[in-house]
Amino acid sequence: MSGFGKGWGEWNAVDVMLVNSYLRVRVYGLRKVGATGYHCVAVYDWRKTALLFSAQASQQPVLDCTWTGIGTFVTVGVNHCHFWSQDGPRAYRRQRGLFGKKAQPQPLLCAKAFGSVLLTGCSSGHLAIWEGRNCIRSIKAHSGAVTALHVLGAR
């Protein structure tokens, strides 16, 4: 038993049960890196009250999330922008957004899809425009942080 828990941090509880002649051990462990927990995402089919997908999003705070198309969504937050695309009936694949040279890594406060591009509001007052997973442009919009975005008409 002692070999399982390497790097998992503290173990809180263990329960053991016999399922179909296999011994199933459930370990409740807090997996911690440093002092922060993970921010988790979940996708529900609300009509069936079914949890379709869940995953760790990031260790940084997630400040906004939005669907960008059928089976694709985006989570943005402190110094990150993650693109999730459906990879199976109950699976989504995460890809990091690349700031590149067009924008500084910084807190992204809001996100909205606009056609095939994604707009995010940055704490520096810029609007960053993403295509695919790359930041293709950033525009100075305000002197303060851009905290809310609304797209008219397109959707």
């Binding site: 459930r26 988790c40 609300w46 009250t49 869940s54 760790q56 906004d64 999330c65 989570t75």
Partner: protein, 121 residues
């Protein structure tokens, strides 16, 4: 936070979801009181039949995410908000963000922090 749909304003007030319907000079409020902790986020989605659905997430260690319809969109309708689904069990900290899929069938939720369950067989 306020969100509008069909002349209705939807906003959280503590643990209470408030739907404010403005009809000329007549303003009526209806309430959704199924949350048991502070509402942290709230987003609306309008279906093709012009029914407005709201998804809201609450604070706490066992947070609920509720999907509810605002009801009472018609001028003289007396029906209040109605809870359609209660999603709970996965998140173990306050639900800070929710988002509706474009077709309104799926809901994306993000919680503030998370504990991991590990299974070893």
């Amino acid at each position: 936070m306020t969100y509008t749909a069909r002349g209705q304003l939807i906003y959280p007030c503590g643990a209470l979801g408030v739907v404010l319907t403005v009809d000329g000079t007549v303003k009526t409020q209806t309430y959704m009181n199924a949350h048991t902790d502070l509402i942290l986020c709230l987003r609306a989605h309008t279906l093709a039949n012009s029914q407005t659905l709201v998804c809201s997430g609450e604070a706490g260690k066992k947070p609920k995410v509720l999907v509810w319809s605002t009801g009472g969109a018609a001028r003289n309708s007396k029906t209040g908000p109605e809870v359609l689904a209660c999603l709970k069990g996965f998140h173990q900290d306050g639900v800070g963000q929710v988002a509706w899929a474009l077709d309104g069938e799926l809901v994306l939720t993000v919680c503030l922090s998370c504990w991991m369950d590990r299974w070893v067989v």
